[in-house]
């Protein structure tokens, strides 16, 4: 029987981490050399963890499915990275950043973890700056900040609309330094397909070499997953097409609990769907809402060109409904408000499924040059994709599947329920609650990798200094390898008539329609039925050309989609079990008279951590009660 122990240290919130750090055991440098750590994923979390662990003297093996670590999807984050520096003298502090995240996450995050993320944020900025990340600066040479959705202070550090790229290249450079020193060994073009558990502890992974198709065994004393999110489960999402759930899901099947799977953020400002063949939606940074005003026509079905619709004929619905925050309300609120307007018939564009994001007033006030300096590359990107120049007419935007707040359950040390298996960054659940505030993901991922995991993992490894190198001939490696090979053979043997992508697209639509921005019990049950049917069809009709022992992109996709069916099923289960609305999880049965989310703290202030009980079998629900000792639980209002 699994018992959840969050291992949150006692004491005042501001002292928990420093006290805990002092109590964590250390591994002496001579022993670190004998220990091996596997890190899977090379985004901000994985690359920062791998480079820091390498610096400490451990033997690190790091894996990614891309050709180089520099391509991890963190590269695509646009708007910025938060820190509590209070450079703007606007009253910001670690406590305020912590408070905004807990409130923004609709009180479904773990207080202690969130506080720690805020606490190490300043070190993250110092480190990136030292690595040569070219953050924006003002004329005196100091770093510049801007504000971001859901908050009222300017605490976001940015590098135009490419903050993710610049931070990722920073971590990639620190990783490159350790690879050159021989402390870290890089394995690119590898898919992690299983985790190997020996005597109850994570001792290695099974990977597929994407070039040769070879199934490989890699042993270690501990395994760190930094494998990102699973927002691609919706098919159409803002994520890179390679993003997937497979590594985390394989850990779940081996006993790691999966927490809050239905908490998937819908990002309010993505470029809307333009054609039937689209497999990807492009994100427009939320920072645009600093200067862009969101509106729809006051009259239903007004098909006129936006520039000929007068001020009086426009409904700036965010400013109208949420006067205190206006266009800067958090993502879940902005997303729902856009969908509400479109569903009511006020949407614009051919499909009626978009709203305007207008820069007219800002351009008039600040000049085109100022807007160009802040968002130039985003405007260019918009024009390339849509063929419309957003300096001359408003952008069209619509919500899209984005960041996953759910993920593997971890304790305060970032360890999953499998000893020796860690999950950091987006692949864990701990810091964002039911909704992630803008610019806090880069902060959390980098903090986890650079300044938290390197401390906590030593506490576990202190017991392992006498454990010899893991023997990859162990029976458990053999068994895991066989399972992986059997699954691939099973997929290849179907030899049906339909492509993997066509199944993914249909699965995505089922989840978007029934477990998307709005959910209700009836729809969720219907979705579950449709998903079961489609999965059955998948295993009869999938067609994968070629062979498994070569570069085979269709096989790669099929492995991922097979797992997405199972992830989708758990999302639905989770959404059904949570009879309240909070953050990204909006159950239509639970809303206020004004159409806002209605939380039920008496019954649902817990983390839902699910235990796997076999394919399509009912999973077991474990509850980690959430205690709010330092932030008062109250209704989340942005009015």
């Amino acid at each position: 029987m699994i018992k959840l122990d969050s291992k949150i240290p006692e004491g005042p919130i501001a002292e928990k981490w420093s006290k805990h750090k002092n109590s964590l055991r250390l591994v002496n440098p001579a022993n670190k050399k004998k220990l091996e750590i596997i890190v899977v994923g090379t985004g901000l979390a994985g690359a920062s963890a791998a480079s820091s662990l390498g610096e400490l003297g451990y033997n690190v093996k790091v894996f990614c499915f891309q050709d180089t670590p520099r391509r991890a999807h963190s590269v695509a984050a646009q708007g910025g990275i938060n820190a509590a520096k209070n450079y703007k003298n606007d009253g910001d502090s670690v406590h305020r950043l912590f408070y905004d995240m807990v409130k923004g996450g609709d009180y479904r995050a773990r207080e202690a973890n969130v506080y720690r993320a805020a606490e190490v944020s300043n070190q993250v900025i110092d480190h990136y700056t030292a690595l040569g990340v070219p953050f924006a600066r003002d004329y005196g040479g100091a770093l510049d900040n801007r504000s971001f959705g859901g908050v009222q202070v300017s605490r976001t550090f940015y590098a135009k609309g490419q903050t993710g790229q610049q931070c990722l290249l920073g971590t990639y450079s620190s990783l490159s330094r350790q690879i050159a020193k021989g402390r870290v060994k890089m394995y690119s073009r590898r898919d992690m397909l299983d985790v190997v558990v020996i005597d109850g502890k994570a001792r290695g992974i099974i990977t597929r070499n994407l070039i040769t198709g070879e199934i490989e065994r890699h042993g270690a004393h501990a395994v760190v997953l930094a494998t990102g999110g699973y927002g691609t489960v919706f098919y159409l999402s803002t994520l890179a097409l390679g993003s997937n759930a497979t590594a985390a899901w394989s850990a779940h099947k081996k006993g790691a609990l999966f927490a809050n799977p239905s908490f998937i953020q819908i990002h309010p400002t993505s470029i809307p769907v333009l054609n039937d063949y689209q497999c990807k939606l492009t994100l427009m940074s939320e920072s645009l809402r600093n200067d862009g005003r969101v509106w729809v026509p006051k009259e239903k079905g007004d098909k006129r060109h936006p520039n000929s619709i007068t001020e009086e004929e426009r409904d700036y619905y965010l400013e109208r409904r949420y006067p205190a925050f206006g266009n800067l309300v958090p993502r879940d609120v902005a997303s729902r408000a856009a969908k509400e307007r479109c569903d009511a018939g006020y949407g614009v564009g051919d499909t009626g499924l978009s709203v305007y994001l207008d820069f007219k007033d800002s351009i008039a006030k600040q000049g085109q040059k100022a807007i160009q300096d802040k968002y130039g590359n985003l405007f260019e990107m918009y024009e390339k994709i849509t063929g419309i120049n957003p300096y001359n007419e408003p952008m069209r935007i619509y919500p899209a599947g984005h960041y996953t707040m759910g993920g593997l359950w971890v304790d305060y040390n970032l360890m999953t329920t499998i000893p020796g298996l860690y999950a950091i960054g987006e692949s864990n659940f701990s810091d964002h609650g039911a909704n992630r505030l803008g610019a806090s993901s880069l902060m959390q991922c980098s903090g986890d990798g650079y300044f938290i995991l390197p401390y906590t993992i030593s506490d576990y490894l202190a017991d392992d200094i006498r454990t010899p190198k893991t023997d990859t001939n162990h029976l458990e490696f053999e068994r895991a390898e066989k399972e992986v090979k059997d699954r691939i053979d099973r997929l290849m043997a179907v030899n049906g008539t339909q492509t993997t992508s066509s199944f993914h697209k249909r699965l995505g639509k089922i989840l978007w329609d029934h477990c998307g921005m709005f959910r209700n019990a009836e729809g969720l049950k219907k979705g579950r039925e449709l998903l079961d049917q489609l999965e059955e069809e998948f295993w009869k009709e999938i067609k994968i050309p070629g062979t498994p022992d070569e570069l085979n992109q269709e096989l790669e996709k099929a492995i991922k989609v097979a797992d997405f069916f199972e992830v989708g099923r758990l999302m639905i289960e989770d959404a059904l079990a949570r009879n309240e609305s909070c953050g990204a999880h909006f159950r239509e049965e639970y809303q206020t008279e004004q159409g806002e989310a209605k939380r039920d703290d008496a019954n649902y202030a817990y983390v839902a951590a699910w235990e796997y009980h076999g394919h399509a079998k009912k999973p077991a629900l474990h509850k980690e009660p959430l205690k709010f000792e330092f932030v008062e639980l109250k209704e989340r209002s942005y009015k």
């Binding site: 891309q66 050709d67 695509a76 070219p134 063949y277 050309p545």
Partner: protein
């Protein structure tokens, strides 16, 4: 739109490749170039044929994974546009489009349109970083940086590592890629300390990996999807020369 395609097909690194012809109808001008290839692959798979292997990931012009030689130009006909952001509205009904992988000795072909660009990682490992250990950074604002210089470092830092500069160059030179990284770090105080050492090691590694020389044709700048300026090559040459003249290499 109706489109004819001539696509380079090659089973693996050791097999000889060839062009194959394909015809596609009902191509929407709203499709991106990669969505058009998805559409082709869907048809090929349904016909029981092997789909075309091509690399891509973010599909929003930032990860640098995609990159095809389209009608004789890296990333196709539009300037400052990655292949994933190129849309079919850039072509005309009835057009024939020739699609090839990057061609460079330093980027061996893996399959069809996918090539191995790990040489770039090797150059980075030779010195494309600031030697600073986690935990030893000073307070970020303790070193002010002139905004103009910082902006210039940013202009160099936008490289996505796609390899278009190498593909565009008749000598397959990696000068623009290396220059961008060298310049970013040489401009900032954080990277300046070891600038001389860095430029020598990176240039040496670039030569060792089989990239060609720069002969100033500026094709790299013209075809760089991020518009990185050849001025950075000049900056790198200055850095390299002064490093050679003034400092001793090594630790």
């Amino acid at each position: 739109m109706d489109i004819k395609l001539k696509i380079w097909r090659q089973k693996n690194a050791t097999t000889k490749g060839r062009f194959e012809d394909y015809e596609l109808s009902d191509v929407s001008p709203e499709m991106s170039f990669l969505e058009m290839l998805d559409y082709l692959n869907k048809q090929l798979i349904e016909e029981g044929k092997e789909p075309v292997t091509f690399e891509h990931d973010c599909r929003e012009g930032i990860c640098g994974t995609c990159g095809l030689y389209i009608n004789g130009r890296p990333h196709g006909p539009q300037q400052h546009t990655t292949t994933c952001e190129l849309h079919m509205r850039a072509f005309k009904d009835g057009d024939t489009i020739v699609v090839e992988p990057w061609r460079s000795k330093a980027f061996p072909i893996i399959k069809d349109l996918a090539v191995d660009r790990s040489a770039f990682d090797k150059i980075m490992q030779a010195g494309g970083f600031v030697n600073i250990a986690t935990g030893s950074a000073p307070e970020a604002n303790s070193i002010p940086i002139n905004k103009k210089i910082s902006d210039r470092a940013f202009d160099a830092s936008v490289c996505i590592g796609c390899g278009a500069c190498v593909a565009a160059c008749k000598n397959s030179s990696a000068m623009l890629f290396v220059a961008a990284k060298v310049s970013q770090f040489a401009l900032l105080p954080q990277g300046k300390v070891e600038a001389a050492d860095r430029v020598q090691r990176m240039v040496e590694k670039m030569d060792e990996l089989g990239f060609g020389f720069c002969s100033n044709t500026y094709a790299c700048e013209f075809d760089c999807p991020k518009g990185i300026s050849v001025e950075f090559i000049a900056q790198m040459n200055r850095e390299f020369l002064s490093a050679k003249l003034c400092s001793h290499k090594g630790h």
